[in-house]
Amino acid sequence: MKRIWFALICLLLTGCSLDPNAAEQYRTEEKLDASITMDNSQIQIKTASNAHVSILFWEKGGEKKPLTVRKTEKDIFVAEKKIEKNGVYFIKADIKTDRQHIMPTKKIVVGGQEELKQDNPERETHSHH
């Protein structure tokens, strides 16, 4: 009898919390991530090797422009871009595989205190045509 009670209490207690790995027993999605880095002349995207990558670049308030992308290593994609004046810029990578489509966007603030101050949460003021 004691054992039955013990089992019942265990059942109730384990019932209370969700197994953190429970999701693995159900349909899962392909994991796809990417990192965007920029140095003084180049934008670099690191992502899955089978991905198709395109890049949009624009200055805050300006027009979105596609950049020419080339694959340099199996998971590195690059585009040439030089920033020549202070300001707030955006790089949006559009990355597609067979099962995922991600579009991380990075904001780059170049400049002194003035630009950093303007660095408010507002984004994509000029978009969606």
Binding site: L18, A22, D33, I102
Partner: protein
């Protein structure tokens, strides 16, 4: 002897449980029968907020959000619901201070058509009464207790209804009209209750997964065992967005091109609402869903759709920085218990099979009301309360009660309380009689 005391035992429990839970069950039946017609009611009452005249193409959702923000500058946007037809307005859910508002926007003209305080909506109030008697967790547990006891009332009721002597029709399958008022009310209680018993049982059992204690336990067990809903639909947290740290370089970066030595900071920004909606569209989700906007740094965009038919349900989580779909759960991804619960819910709400479904639900609710009222009349007209059985009830009856008590622990606990009270009453009466 055992047969008689078993009958007395069962009748006593049925009698006291019936009196105690009748008011709760009455509230559930009345609110439930009204809530069945939520869609029709809201379509009629909120017509001016719902309907728009379609024009060539709707504006992007981000523009609609801006229009709402212009009117409610302090509010945080929590939810966007694109209309399911071209004639339907877009809903934008906002938190304005402590108020949760739904703002209706014409997607073609961007005109804010009006707003509703979610708390004030009649159907939301009904839902709160039906689910928790407007009394939070305590109310939720009371409703659950009433539902569990309703199962016990059904089981004991069928035991009491079952004809003991010869097989007969009148008083069992049909009410007797010409044998006096008492017999008439008894039949008006027992006969419809028998006819509706499967419907009542269905409503109880499909409603219980909503309950805070029993429902949550069952959902946890089912989800953990891989036989229920995937996590985050009922129980369990949604996946999280991966936060990448902001990078700041204070050294002159590309300094040669810039007028002053620059500092460069870069960070990933949140996906635009338009992109989140575009992802939902690309994944084939029909409008009429809600897009929940993340409220924390690790939060996700969640596309949630619980339309009238269970097989069209969607819960999809999107990383707020990359737009990666972290989870996309449809009805077909639910495991058997999850599918059964989901179908049970749409049938319980009366939406699965349209009007016929609602009318059947309504008939069962009306039947419950009739059974409760005739039961209460029987109670008022009683000559005496149930007698305390002299002998013991049959073993199978005791086993039945223990099983029901274990199956519904909250009801089981209340049974123990009732037993304790009964023993106290018995002891006090015993003292008096001496």
């Amino acid at each position: 002897m055992t047969e008689k005391s078993s009958y007395q035992f069962v009748w006593r429990w049925h009698f006291y449980a019936g009196i105690f839970f009748a008011p709760f069950l009455l509230v559930l039946a009345v609110t439930g029968s009204l809530y069945l017609f939520k869609a029709e009611f809201e379509q009629a009452v909120y017509k001016d907020l719902y309907e728009v005249v379609p024009q060539s193409s709707p504006m992007p959702a981000s523009h609609l959000v801006s229009a709402v923000k212009a009117q409610y500058p302090q509010a945080a946007v929590a939810r966007i619901r694109p209309g399911e037809t071209p004639e339907r307005s877009t809903e934008i859910g906002i938190m304005d201070g402590s108020k949760s508002l739904t703002v209706f926007v014409n997607p073609y003209t961007m005109k804010v058509m009006g707003s509703l305080n979610d708390e004030d909506r009649l159907m939301n109030k009904l839902e709160k009464i039906h689910g928790e008697l407007m009394a939070g967790t305590i109310g939720d547990r009371l409703v659950e207790l009433a539902a569990c006891w309703a199962v016990i009332l059904l089981v004991t009721g069928i035991y009491l209804w079952k004809p003991r002597t010869k097989k007969r029709v009148w008083g069992v399958l049909l009410p007797r009209f010409s044998q006096g008022k008492k017999v008439f009310y008894r039949d008006l209680h027992a006969v419809p209750a028998f006819w509706l018993s499967s419907g009542m049982f269905f409503l109880i059992i499909t409603g219980l997964p909503w309950s805070g204690f029993w429902g949550t336990q069952v959902q946890h067990l089912a989800t953990n065992a891989g036989i229920g809903y995937p996590p985050s639909i009922w129980v369990g947290d949604a996946p999280v967005s991966t936060v990448k740290t902001k990078e700041i370089a204070n050294v002159g970066w590309a300094a040669e091109n810039l007028p002053v030595p620059a500092s460069v900071s870069s960070e990933y920004i949140q996906l635009s609402i338009d992109d989140a909606l575009m992802i939902a569209k690309k994944r084939g989700i029909a409008p009429g869903y809600d897009l929940y906007v993340p409220q924390t740094k690790t939060g996700v965009f969640t596309v949630s759709s619980f339309p009238s038919k269970a097989e069209n349900e969607v819960t999809m989580h999107i990383d707020q920085y990359t737009g990666a779909v972290l989870a996309d759960y449809r009805f077909k991804d639910y495991q058997p218990a999850g599918k059964a619960i989901a179908l049970g819910i749409t049938l319980h709400k009366g939406s699965q099979f349209g009007l016929a479904n609602k009318l059947i639900g309504l008939a069962v609710c009306m039947g419950i009301i009739l059974v409760i009222i005739s039961g209460l009349i029987l109670w008022k007209k009683r000559k005496h309360g149930p007698v305390r059985p002299n002998g013991r009830a049959a073993k199978k009856i005791i086993v039945l009660f223990v099983v029901l008590g274990l199956l519904f622990p909250l009801a089981g606990a209340s049974m123990l309380v009732a037993l304790a009270v009964d023993q106290l009453v018995k002891a006090r009466k015993g003292v008096k009689e001496e």
